[in-house]
Subunit: 191 residues, 2 copies
């Protein structure tokens, strides 16, 4: 059981022991419930066939919703990124979850990210703008570049979320790359 608990992220030998003793001594019911839920989730949760996010049903709740704007599609690297955008913004369009980023050295190419499915979707003609929200890391940028090409070839306008100084940040403490980028991509202040 201790060995098994170590599959949880951030849990090492010590934490696993503490958890195991806690459950055995104080919360056998909770542990039983957790066991059942884990088995159930591993059994039932698959991927949405449309956006590749985790979902119990064939279509996830967002893809199945009739009130979302199908003309906007936002590509993110992970389900956690999708959740962050959903919570932070008032975005009412749809998503495509890559479940990774292009990384040839790790054997992750367009096929692993389901890009043929994304390409087919862009070719349908419903999507007007592909909002590329991959992370501003080297691999994320390479992925963004690839996605932009993919969209343009299918007459869909690609756009990229803004990068620069984070709100509340101080110029003095920002890394050089970000500051240089923020300076270079300055924009005219509208009236």
């Amino acid at each position: 059981m201790i060995e098994a608990l170590r599959c949880l992220p951030g849990v090492g030998q010590k934490s696993a022991q503490r958890m195991a003793y806690h459950l055995l001594e104080r919360d056998r019911d909770g542990a039983r419930r957790l066991g059942e839920r884990l088995a159930e989730a591993m059994e039932k949760v698959g991927h949405c066939t449309r956006c590749r996010d985790f979902s119990q049903a064939e279509l996830c709740a967002i893809c199945a919703s009739p009130t979302r704007d199908a003309a906007l599609l936002c590509a993110v690297e992970s389900p956690a990124d999708r959740l962050a955008i959903e919570q932070a913004t008032g975005y009412r369009g749809l998503y495509f979850v890559l479940q990774g980023r292009l990384s040839p050295l790790d054997g992750i190419g367009p096929r692993e990210l389901g890009l043929e499915r994304l390409a087919a979707r862009l070719a349908e003609g419903t999507v007007r703008e592909l909002i590329i929200a991959t992370n501003p890391t080297v691999e994320g940028e390479a992925t963004a570049h690839y996605l932009a090409q993919l969209a343009r070839q299918r007459k869909v306008q690609p756009s990229r979320i803004a990068h620069g100084v984070p709100l509340g940040g101080e110029l003095e403490y920002i890394d050089r790359g970000t500051l240089s980028h923020a300076f270079g991509s300055r924009s005219e202040v509208p009236n």
Copy 2:
């Protein structure tokens, strides 16, 4: 001496004691030199009459340089911000150092930031673009807004450095405000 050392930022009673004993026991020459340099700097370093940055001469090295582009003026809050931009970017224009930001509650208004001098400079007709690089905090944004108006009234184009997800950042760990802003100010990917 220990009391006096505590004027240094981040130095409390304990650190001041350690510094004092170190200097007395091991580095009396260094301490003497430091004393002289401090006295000299406090005596000689004033403000550049043109950009308000610290300077020993009437004009700082940047304002006095004939190779900088006088059509670009970048407004920053502090000398540290100016240094950060100078080190991170290839910017070849001039600066205006506000030495603060608008903060009516602390009694810091346009006069304390030398804005009448900035206004006069913008009215000269040499400056084409005012790059506003105040911090993306509430007060920094208020200052940016004020500066943009100031520039526009004098027919100078105001621009603002980009804000958004910092390079290398992960969407999942970005604060909501920044993510929401980054999403809202997304831009079309150029060909």
